[in-house]
């Protein structure tokens, strides 16, 4: 257990509070995706993809303090502590937006490749890396001059980017290509391509355990590789559609957002298994650990909320076994058909066997 976890585990009454707790779920906007934290100011920033905005949340009061417009469909977000700036990649505007994190004031719009859906950050090199999904490239941006300085070829579906700062190695998840592009963030040269599972959606480097974690969203697994040699070390089964990841500061726990299940899987790295699940909002998209408190901040794309979980490494109430709808009659529906506009009802499918697939573009 790390220092933050040790300090927080003991409750104020002198006993031990051995469960995690959801402290608040403030509304932040439509389609919230990635989250970043400014530890000094005690603020979280959430990229709200369907509001085309960033919302700042006061982590003490757990309420929004400002909202600032950016380009269309911001998905990832990075906080640059030395300058107090925020960077979002706005997928449908093909830009990286830069905001003042204190006020939300817009500072710059930087053109990158088509459909940027992931950002990486190397504070020492003062570089931001944009994973350009439709262009299959990584656009490199100077974090001080706020200008592009190069482009690295990647794979189709390039998105989430993690940086191994110890070795100066970058890893870009290629969603459609089911691979990682390994690159040199100094020389901007591609170095290698590593096959992973289907639909890699998020990569996170953990310097403590010296591992890279990959969320394979179409396989319901989280894979890990050794940062030292790039070899696959193992994988963890999780729930449906793992798309977001965060690692505790001590490297002991990995938190996985299961977008299809509305839960976060908590992986115990030492035990090599999932230890428990946390029920959050609908369609959790990404998460981050607040380094000051060890709290887990989860954005819920379907609910438009940010779930703040205290002591997330501890278990909580057990989830009910099975799904409550199984064995019951399907509730009747009367919904408009996308292509014809006609209202379609349950009655049309009566006496047939069928599968309903719930999906969304967020």
């Amino acid at each position: 257990m790390g220092p933050v976890e040790s300090a927080a585990a003991e409750d104020g009454a002198g006993g031990l509070d051995r469960v995690h707790r959801v402290l608040a779920q403030p509304r932040v906007g439509m389609g919230p995706e990635a989250v970043a934290v400014d530890v000094r100011r005690r603020r979280a920033f959430v990229a709200c993809s369907r509001s085309d905005a960033v919302t700042a949340v006061d982590l003490v009061r757990m309420t929004p303090v400002w909202r600032a417009g950016v380009g269309r469909e911001p998905i990832p977000i990075v906080f640059d502590a030395p300058t107090g700036r925020l960077f979002t990649a706005d997928a449908r505007s093909d830009i990286v937006s830069v905001l003042d994190a204190g006020t939300g004031e817009p500072l710059a719009r930087i053109a990158v490749g088509a459909y940027p859906a992931g950002l990486g950050y190397h504070p020492r090199l003062r570089r931001i890396f944009s994973g350009d999904t439709a262009a299959a490239t990584i656009t490199v941006v100077d974090a001080d001059r706020l200008a592009p300085i190069g482009v690295i070829p990647a794979g189709l579906g390039a998105g989430s980017i993690a940086i191994d700062r110890r070795r100066d190695r970058g890893y870009c998840a290629n969603f459609m290509a089911a691979s990682l592009t390994v690159f040199d963030p100094v020389t901007l040269r591609p170095l290698d391509r590593i096959p992973v599972g289907r639909g890699p959606c998020k990569v996170v480097a953990d310097p403590v355990a010296d591992r890279l974690y990959v969320a394979n969203s179409l396989e319901n697994t989280v894979l890990w590789l050794s940062l030292a040699d790039g070899r696959v070390g193992g994988s963890f089964p999780v729930e449906r559609a793992p798309v977001g990841l965060a690692v505790s500061r001590d490297g002991r726990h990995v938190y996985v957002c299961n977008r299809g299940a509305g839960t976060v899987s908590v992986l115990d790295v030492r035990a090599g298994a999932e230890s428990h699940r946390i029920r959050v909002g609908y369609g959790p998209g990404d998460c981050v650990i607040d380094p000051a408190t060890g709290r887990l901040l989860v954005s819920n794309a379907g609910s438009g909320t940010l779930t703040i979980v205290d002591r997330p490494w501890l278990p909580g109430p057990e989830a009910p076994a099975g799904h409550p709808a199984v064995g019951r009659l399907l509730p009747g529906f009367a919904l408009p058909d996308l292509r014809t506009g006609r209202i379609r009802t349950t009655r049309e499918w009566a006496e047939k066997k069928y599968v309903i697939n719930f999906f969304a573009s967020w």
């Binding site: 299961n258 977008r259 064995g327 006496e351 697939n357 719930f358 999906f359 967020w362």
Partner: protein, 77 residues
């Protein structure tokens, strides 16, 4: 399709990009998903000929195939 903003346009775009065929119904508020206890996407719901829900989740192809095979092989209840 559970979509909160510009539902028809977003759904058309999504279906085109990912070549989604078949009937697509719009659940703009997510109210129907909530009635079914669906907490995220993607989620598959397998319904039998009596209109009874037999599986929820099962989005990995192997899981869905297994759930369908169980229904086809199992006794009619």
């Amino acid at each position: 399709m559970w979509e909160s903003r510009d539902a028809a346009r977003e759904a058309r775009h999504f279906a085109e990009v990912w070549d989604v065929r078949g009937t697509i119904l719009l659940d703009e508020t997510g109210a129907y998903a909530a009635r079914l206890g669906v907490r995220g996407v993607p989620t598959n719901v397998l319904v039998d000929e009596r209109g009874v829900v037999r599986a929820v989740g099962v989005t990995a192809p192997a899981d869905l195939d297994a759930a369908v095979a169980r229904r086809l092989a199992g006794p009619r209840r």
